[in-house]
Amino acid sequence: MNAPVNTRKLYDCRDAFAATLERLAAENETIVAVCNDSVGSSKLNGFKAKFPDRLVNVGIAEQNMVGVGAGLANGGRLPYVCGAAPFLTGRSLEQIKADIAYSNANVKLVGISSGMAYGELGPTHHSIEDFAWMRVLPNLPVIAPCDRIETAAAVEWAASYNGPCFLRLSRVGVPDLLPEGHRFEVGKANLLREGSDVTLIANGTLTHRMVKAAEILAERGIKARVLNMATVRPIDETAIIAAANETGAIVTAEEHSIFGGLGSAVAEVVVDNAPVPMKRLGVPGIFAPTGSAEFLLDEFGMAPAAIADAAATLIKRK
């Protein structure tokens, strides 16, 4: 722990998703992949080659895609319903609510290219509302893995979990952060770096930036704890309350609007249990300007140095 992160090698987590799904499907014939014409962008070409009959492509029809997923589960199949996150969650929100969450259908929703992964394509293709939309729904764990290792572990966990869930994946490269062989536990944060002055909490593409920020803070004599919190719901209340009590300040960062996402979920726990100063970093409630995901994250104050500055400022309010 507290070793510098090797950021030279970056991995597209979709590859880990696809490889894991293909491995699981080889062992479990009930697994099917459902998609909305998104075979390539969901990295399902390998699945299609190996299990052509088990790729259910409904065409560009997300509402039907989610309903079909619920029906497949009713018929004893184990569907991974894959689509670009903005369309999967936004277009078919009511289907996710009624057919999946309320019906408690054993369907794994996989939102691909979430956040601002489609940066330059603009806000129609950004998915910076999905944490908020998904986490208000009962019965639906919401999970944003931070690297390829956690992605593979979460995809495997989903197959063993008897119920619906939402996996939020990106296409933006991220370094390895968790150890090989890591086992995913829903609702459980991972301590990536110990510290006592402030806690940095993130998930998805922001976790490695938080680790970098902690390294910068260490150079300035500030000991930052880093928690990777892939599960936005059910949120890890124990880890959050401990962070509040033991470090006295919390910074969150997410590739999502600051309204309703990870930061909001953390703040809800903090306010109810252990009020301490917080700073929520994310997209500041606007439709983002043109730019790549990396550019926009930097632009919105989530470059590692900017995160470190935000943490240092926050600590003064303790």
């Binding site: 065409g59 029809a61 079909v68 619920a70 004893g76 009624a98 057919d99």
Partner: protein, 269 residues
Amino acid sequence: MEISDLERIARDIRRRDIQAVYEAGAGHVGGEMSVIDLLAALYFHVLRIWPDQPKHPDRDRFVLSKGHTACALYVVLAERGFIPEDEISTFLQPYSRLNGHPNCNKVPGVETNTGPLGHGLPVAVGMAKAAKLSSANYHTYVITGDGEMQEGSNWEAIMAAAQFKLDNLTLIIDHNRFQQGASLSETNDVAPFRPKLEAFGWEVTEINGNAMAEIVPALEHRGGRPHCIVAHTNKGHGISFMQDRVDWHHKVPSKEQYELALAELSEAL
């Protein structure tokens, strides 16, 4: 079962349904009266089901996409032995599992939660596709309202069913010509259904959906394509003052109207 037996069962269900709506002070009685003959035929003659094993993997699947007529489904499920008959008196009461729209996690025999319109057919397509993938021989039936066919999600599902060659899927459109506040022809006249469904690659049968002798063979029909039954029905069927009156979509009968309705249904027995 004889056609006359099914007709008697349907009349009993109508009586119990209108009693439940009257006592609860709420419900969707017009659309329940139009769909009850179809439900009676399905549950008492057509569906291969085991009430003591509601999750049996080989059971035929049925989805009531027009979930607002849940009360009729509850009465049918009670008469068929999925839930206790005396539970119907809890309809809409606090903490009753029989709320205004069916809940598959609480009510045995319900396959998926419906209520928002345009949801049941996509789910039914998934059920039928699952049977194809697993070589199961169950059949999937889904009933939509005709107004409900204005929802675009249904047409996504209709395209998919043809593409997937789901000859194990039957869609029944309860074509009573009225939606909540108006006739279809006054809002978005999606009828006639036959040419549209045929153009989308379905086989279409048109029947009188309140005539048991026409309902049963249509439900039992098997062809090489997904099958749509356009069931021409009457909203409020069986009760003279409700019939084809749009205000009976979710109106509750007064004491006098309730007694008159029961008398008419008894006369028909």
